[in-house]
Symmetry: C2
Subunit: 702 residues, 2 copies
């Protein structure tokens, strides 16, 4: 992808800002940004633009953007919709590098608006000027106080400058999140809302922030994307640069009728695809604004543990139990401490519980040196990756806070890199101070644990990086021809693509069938092959478990007779003779073309797992072996592959290999493939591989 750093830098970090529709009136959209920038000591230059000229808020106003004597990095357009296109054209003519369009009244309201928006899109396409909006709440650089927004919330103060960039498709949601962040004292770098996304969209902004050295964490809200490839590239770039993405994605749209006749597609809700993509790129998906800010603030500390072992120190035994319960829900381990650590703690505090959670009891707060020693023991001997300290409401006691501050200062000095989370009620000033010491302070212990689990998730994702090498397609792999493909065609095509398919031969006579049976090996199954016959068993078109050439010959005749009787006009390709395969764990592999993200691979266990429980998981193609293994581990019925009811463990490696190969094949032929359904795919005992018994490929109709 092309770098967004170049073309979007003037938007995110402008040195010159113009406002078209500038006003002295603070109640007007054209009045607020100027006032905010003046009050925020924005160090760049501000150019009011207004046909009346003169002075606006003490600054020289220009009658037209073209009159501004310097190159404008960002121009804010606040005029009503009917005047916007003209204003933007002026901007382009003036060489403005980016334009922010607040105005609503475009594609969201009807035909005239859509036409205008089309014109804006055309301008963006044919110029070097980047457009934000229309119908957005604008943009803010929280470090320089370059303001391209009319959000009135700055009247209550600026957000703290920090390393979190907030990107929101929705203006209202973005504005709401910024206010919450400011109230909580969370440090912001960039804030942008993209509205109708005529040009700059969430993907572009993430790509920019992924390269922006000042951004460490990206908190994004999105409803959908029109640029899936750019979005994926932006996600990959962020991960490669060690930037955590916290994502709120709302609005599961329905998978269209295009995929209705594919079993796979019927299970692939669009939301499940987004969910799969987020997992694939190590993105932390959140479902509330509180959760978003908790996780973003935690990630901004840059502490990403490599493992998931949580140590808990609590002054309340009850909270110890509660947090252990919650940790388990978030896949955090609360391991028993090493014997030596337990012994050391027991010597310090004979009445404490020391297994982990470590319950010091509230009495401990009366002996701060002991409490400090307890923390130090946890950090040096506890073998944990994160330490949660529950201090209840002591933040309301000035005396206690004075004491605990000293403890925490000294401990941090000696353990500068340990991830420590304080769960306590505290006054804002105290919290800010403790956060400056790189403690995470999250009042509610459940929320603290959720944030820790997110950090562990990021840590794992950063270490993994890209999902590993992709298997190469065999040289003989071919694209599926665009026509109706029989199961024999499908088996042949997928076999050439490197997937283990049950061998099968098309027979055209009883003798031929007997020869075929000899080749593939007894016992065999026989099946009519015809593009015109859907329910083969119902009309007697299938014979199972045939064990001799006599049985094969007579079955051939029987099938032909049945077909002749029940499907007289069907075109017959022949009769498929294939080995009768039994045993192994029944699974389903599929490919489905998502209207947004293209080929998506599905995995599920067969039978009721898919049919009743919808127990399936997805990945966007292509992906490597590691990702395939993670995918397999996600289904609820995973234990089936470990062997149940005395069955041996299944060959999960062979299964993962097939999923990865299928994903590579699907990605390579995304222009042709509508769907692939491999069902059943039997996974044999460990070391014995896996084999597809039946497969169907649908190609896209022109």
């Amino acid at each position: 992808m092309t770098s967004q750093l170049g073309s979007l830098a003037p938007l995110f970090d402008p040195a010159t800002v113009a406002i078209i529709g500038a006003s002295d009136n603070m109640l007007k959209f054209g009045g607020r940004p100027i006032r905010f920038m003046r009050e925020g000591n924005y160090p760049g230059k501000v150019f009011p633009v207004n046909p009346r000229g003169g002075m606006i808020q003490g600054l020289q106003a220009y009658k037209n953007i073209r009159d501004v004597p310097e190159v404008v990095d960002m121009c804010v357009v606040t005029v009503p919709a009917p005047l916007v296109v003209e204003a933007v054209k002026d901007c382009v003519a003036a060489g403005v590098r980016s334009v922010v369009i607040f105005s609503s009244g475009f594609s969201e309201v009807g035909e005239q608006g859509e036409q205008w928006q089309g014109e804006l899109a055309e301008i963006a396409r044919t110029s070097n000027t980047r457009l934000v909006g229309p119908n957005c709440m604008g943009v803010l650089n929280a470090a320089s106080h370059a303001v391209g927004t009319f959000a009135s919330s700055f009247e209550r103060g600026w957000p703290k400058t920090g390393s979190i960039s907030i990107i929101s498709q929705s203006g209202a949601v973005g504005g709401h999140i910024m206010v919450l962040a400011r109230e909580r004292g969370i440090g912001i770098r960039n804030w942008i809302t993209t509205g109708n996304e005529v040009d700059v969209d969430v993907a572009d902004c993430i790509a920019y922030c992924a390269e922006d050295p000042e951004t460490k964490v990206i908190a994004a809200y999105m409803e959908g994307t029109k640029k899936p490839e750019q979005l994926k590239a932006a996600f990959a770039a962020a991960r490669a640069n060690g930037k955590a993405i916290v994502m709120m994605k709302v609005g599961a749209s329905e998978v269209g009728a295009h995929a209705a006749n594919s079993h796979t597609a019927s299970l692939a809700g669009a939301d499940a695809i987004y969910d799969a993509m987020f997992r694939q790129y190590g993105i932390c998906r959140v479902y509330s604004m509180d959760e978003m800010l908790d996780v973003a603030a935690a990630a901004a500390t840059g502490q990403f543990p490599g493992r998931n072992r949580l140590g808990i120190v609590t002054i309340s035994g009850g909270i110890g139990v509660l947090t252990s319960d919650i940790a388990a829900l978030h896949d955090l381990e609360v391991p028993e401490l090493p014997a030596k650590a337990q012994q050391a703690l027991k010597e310090l505090m004979p009445l404490a519980a020391v297994r982990n959670p470590v319950d010091t009891t509230a009495q401990m707060l009366n002996d701060m040196p002991l409490f400090e020693e307890c923390l130090r023991t946890m950090l040096t001997q506890g073998d944990c990756d994160a330490t949660l300290v529950f201090l209840s409401t002591i933040g309301f006691s000035e005396r206690m806070m004075g004491l605990i501050r000293g403890v925490l200062e000294r401990v941090r000095a000696d353990f500068p890199d340990d991830l420590m989370i304080l769960s306590m009620v505290s006054l804002p000033a105290d919290r800010e101070y403790l956060e400056s010491l790189k403690y995470l302070v999250i009042e509610d212990p459940n929320r603290a644990i959720r944030a820790i689990s997110a950090l562990v998730g990021f840590g794992g994702s950063f270490v993994r990086g890209e999902s590993g090498a992709l298997p190469e397609l065999p040289r003989q792999a071919i694209a599926p021809p665009r026509r109706t493909l029989s199961e024999l065609d499908a088996a042949d095509i997928l076999s050439k693509a490197g997937l283990p398919m049950a061998p099968g031969r098309l027979a055209h006579s009883a003798d031929d069938a007997a020869r075929a049976a000899m080749e593939v090996g007894y016992p065999v199954v026989m099946k009519i092959v015809s593009p015109d016959i859907q329910h083969k068993s119902d009309i007697g078109g299938v014979k199972l478990n045939l064990r001799s050439s006599d049985e094969v010959r007579s079955s051939y005749q029987a099938i032909m007779a049945a077909v002749g009787q029940h499907a007289r006009d069907a075109a017959i390709d022949g009769i498929l003779v294939a080995p009768m395969i039994a045993g192994g764990v029944e699974t389903i592999l599929g490919v489905h073309r998502d209207p947004v993200f293209g080929p998506v691979v599905l995995f599920g266990l067969g039978g009721i797992f898919v049919e009743v429980l919808k127990d399936v998981t997805f990945r966007i193609a292509p992906f490597g072996l590691d990702e395939a293994h993670r995918m397999i581990d996600e289904v609820r019925g995973r234990a089936m592959l470990d062997g149940v009811r005395g069955q041996p463990a299944a060959d999960v490696d062979a299964l993962a290999d097939a999923l990865s190969r299928l994903s590579v094949y699907a990605a390579a032929n995304s222009e042709v493939i509508e769907s692939i359904d491999i069902n059943p795919f039997l996974v044999k005992a460990k070391g014995e591989g896996a084999i597809a018994v039946d497969a169907l490929i649908l190609t896209q109709t022109e």
Copy 2:
């Protein structure tokens, strides 16, 4: 149960309070309650007790509790553990009605403490004095400011007086919750922490609050109970009186080895039993302190909708989508509004989305009369049971708040009983005012929706009340004899208890078997019956699908021969001849004796649902048909009973009937039954009933 209102009233609402160990020093436990009561204008009388006598904090002190000239409702004991027993004896001698013991150093620390605690228990048992603690944080009446706690948090102010009573086994957790409640301005009635529970426990306190006319909502934290019957009775009383219980239960203890050899027991974690009980009694289980307070505060408004239809009015389309997603997760419906309502809204706001969620867009806030009209239209024509209004951060705009306050006042005046929830950032004073208008104000929309769903849950539970009539046991029902019971014994016993069991006959010769087959009907299954043979199939002790008397005769001989060969010394009861039953949905019904709650009924679908997915649900016995239906609806594989793969819908009524009957039988024989395992229990097509194919009963060993 006996009423707790009598004996606990002096504790929860004392007119006279004494403090043993009274002190002038505010840092001492014996100093704080007196100071708090004076500062809180406690209207009752306070009697300091201290061996030195004299004046304490301006009050006449007494040298011994027995010297106090009036009857003491509540006496707080703050002396160290070794002096507690003596002090409590003095209290009893003085006729004190309740005693609160802060002191730690009892059963939680070792032998000496356990002995003292035993003595306290004995005192409680043999006197009319009720004991709270030891090792607790005490008690508070937030209306009168009767203080029996040393919690120092009152230094920052009293909690608001209200209708929520907080009951916590853990002092630290209880104290933490009270502080959070106070900071959020949530109104409290009673607050009590029960600590080691030598006498008064969580069950007693819930029972008291269930009858206390001032308490509307009970927010409880518990780790376990020693009085399960009282706990259930308290839950039932609270429900009968329309009091909502919000419960945080932590610490899943392991089901003991006592049940290890029962399939049912192996799935019944103790936490699952608590969970079942909470569902059974309509209790809202919460997992965080924030969630607890959100739900409790919502319930305190006393608005419990009868249905689950949620209307959403939002100034942000994005939040509309988000809240719809979250509503679905919480089983709230966001129905399309009636056509007439949509039309009316569209006329008001041509640019708004009116389907539901109703997205007015933020522009609407510029036209308050329109916004008011929109709300009124929702309330009169929307056909919803609750209305969520998202107003983002407008609470920070004084001007906007002034306008919206007026709207909300007028709307509330005309719709006094409608459940309306405001999701908005607001200043504490504004929030308090809006709450006084019976609006629920919950900043985060996700948390608002969770609270609404809890109100719907309470509403449903209050309407349901007790789980309906229990089926009567048939007259011929018998208790299982305390011995090893064969499957034939079990079938006979359960059949007499009213459960549909497959008929079977024990045969003692080949001829006898043939006669039995005729009686039960072909095809039949034959099975060796012996207490000494576990794996009958493995040794050839089972024959399936026999279709003629010849087959039955030869099978008899074959089984006997096989048993003679492989299990020569086994005692043989005979050979069971039973009809071969096929078809229907395979389910499992079970009974397991929980060490705390006694007989618990399990339900699950057969096969992988139980074995791999642990997809089972529980209820405490006994329960009626309605509860059985709710139980059935809880399993993930519920759809299996609706008919999949072309199967007809199953006879769920017959299944529910069997579950309810089993529960009544298990409860009636709880002294004898260790476990019952009915597996498989086949549920036939609707109208065709259900039948148990195999069953096992284990009785308790003495």
